[in-house]
């Protein structure tokens, strides 16, 4: 028997009119009120940052599901091979040269990974005990507030506001952490502020992020400031959030707008570190 909500009865003929009704507006309004409550709780109490990292921990095992089809496809090729081809392949595998080549390739890969790790370690100029190595898990597609999620070990002492650094420079800071993951606010984030000092003019300022793929901007720079194009800026260490002297970016544009009382100075952040897998977390003292 069909449930009552799936049809209406005609008042004229008393026959069933089969139609699926749309959602009730009252229910939609109630659900929207719930959403607005969630938004307000996030804006005023930061609700999402408290539970987000735990959500990432819960979803970690499910990410293996994504790789499962790819693994199956790569292995399913063997099923369709003929016996002759398989025998030929078997013979090939018996050749010692092949084995050595495979071993060499493996060693080459290991050495490349080691090289990347060594480069990271050699870039550590501060107290080595304050560094811990983390691996990238994912980065969100949120353009203005991009979040980098990194894997951390359960016994790590990573805390809020610890800085994320690569061999090339500063990446961001930790804004939430759970047992197995930490959430990093990138320098590109529109909520991000970094106190910096310029390389040549030695001027202090704050950089505000502008979103992924966009330049950051120096805040409240006097028109008399003598910045130069191409000048590099480093973290100044003021406010003790970021370590001092880490490369942040480079000045790419200086505009003196007539309708503004400040200079508009744009900074290009590092783009390539987002494509790498390992980072340092510098734990603040």
């Amino acid at each position: 028997m069909m449930p009552k909500r799936e049809y209406k009865v005609s008042y004229i003929s008393s026959e069933a009119i089969f139609a699926v009704p749309a959602m009730k507006p009252s229910k939609v309004i109630l659900a929207m009120l719930l959403c607005f409550t969630l938004m307000l709780s996030d804006i005023y109490f930061g609700a999402s940052s408290k539970i987000r990292t735990y959500a990432h921990d819960v979803f970690m095992p499910l990410s293996t599901l994504v790789n499962l089809p790819l693994n199956l496809i790569s292995k399913s090729g063997d099923v369709f091979k003929t016996r002759y081809t398989l025998r030929k392949e078997l013979d090939e595998f018996r050749i010692e040269n092949k084995k050595l080549r495979v071993t060499n390739q493996f060693l080459e890969k290991v050495s490349k990974e080691n090289e990347e790790l060594n480069r990271l370690w050699s870039s550590a100029r501060l107290n080595l005990n304050n560094y811990s190595l983390v691996k990238k898990r994912t980065i969100s597609s949120n353009e203005f507030q991009p979040l980098l999620i990194v894997d951390i070990s359960s016994d790590s002492s990573i805390d809020l506001n610890d800085s994320l650094i690569t061999d090339k420079g500063l990446i961001g800071r930790v804004i939430a952490s759970s047992k197995y993951s930490a959430e990093v606010m990138l320098l590109h984030d529109v909520r991000s502020f970094v106190p910096v000092i310029s390389e040549k003019s030695k001027l202090h300022a704050n950089i505000k992020g502008g979103g992924l793929g966009r330049s950051g901007k120096l805040q409240y720079v006097k028109k008399t400031a003598a910045y130069e194009l191409g000048e590099k800026v480093y973290s100044s260490g003021i406010a003790d959030t970021f370590p001092e002297g880490v490369y942040v970016g480079e000045i790419v544009s200086i505009k003196d707008l007539s309708d503004s009382e400040f200079l508009e100075v744009e900074i290009s952040f590092l783009q390539s570190p987002l494509n790498q897998d390992f980072y340092f977390v510098y734990e603040n003292e």
Binding site: A31, C35, S41, I43, S48, A55, S63, F144
Partner: protein
Amino acid sequence: MNRESKNQFLIYLTLCLSLLLDVYVFPVSFMAIKPSLVLLVLIYWNMALPDRVGIAAALLFGTLIDLLEGSLLGLHGTLFLLITYMCQRFFYQFRVSGLWQQSIIIFFLCILYKQILALDLLNVNESQTNLSDVLYFTHSLLFALFSALLWSPVLLILRYYRRRWIKI
């Protein structure tokens, strides 16, 4: 497992898979313009089986995306809810349209979706709005274009899946 539960499970399975694909697979350079598979799958199920997918699915997957993507909690929920309501309200008209007509509707829906997503609700990006930001507007157009192009394959695959596995 009875038939109804099995159907619900199969529908939510597609939504879960699309969520995982959305979150984990694509490279950084493609992130800003990659189509939202969850959105497309949700639209499909609202169009194909409006009585099986509703407020709960929209809220659940919206909140999950908010948690995984780092957007304001409840924002995706609201958007998914509105899209679900629109789809259910107009699914008779939507379902009988041609594929290209549906793609055009998806295109405009996705532009709206992307623009609403960029609303500065936290008041942190005072220097620009999402319409004056040319890069973001271009990304919105590309996002909508890719979503519109992806709509046909998504619809055909899910239609086959529904006919093959989901027995009403």
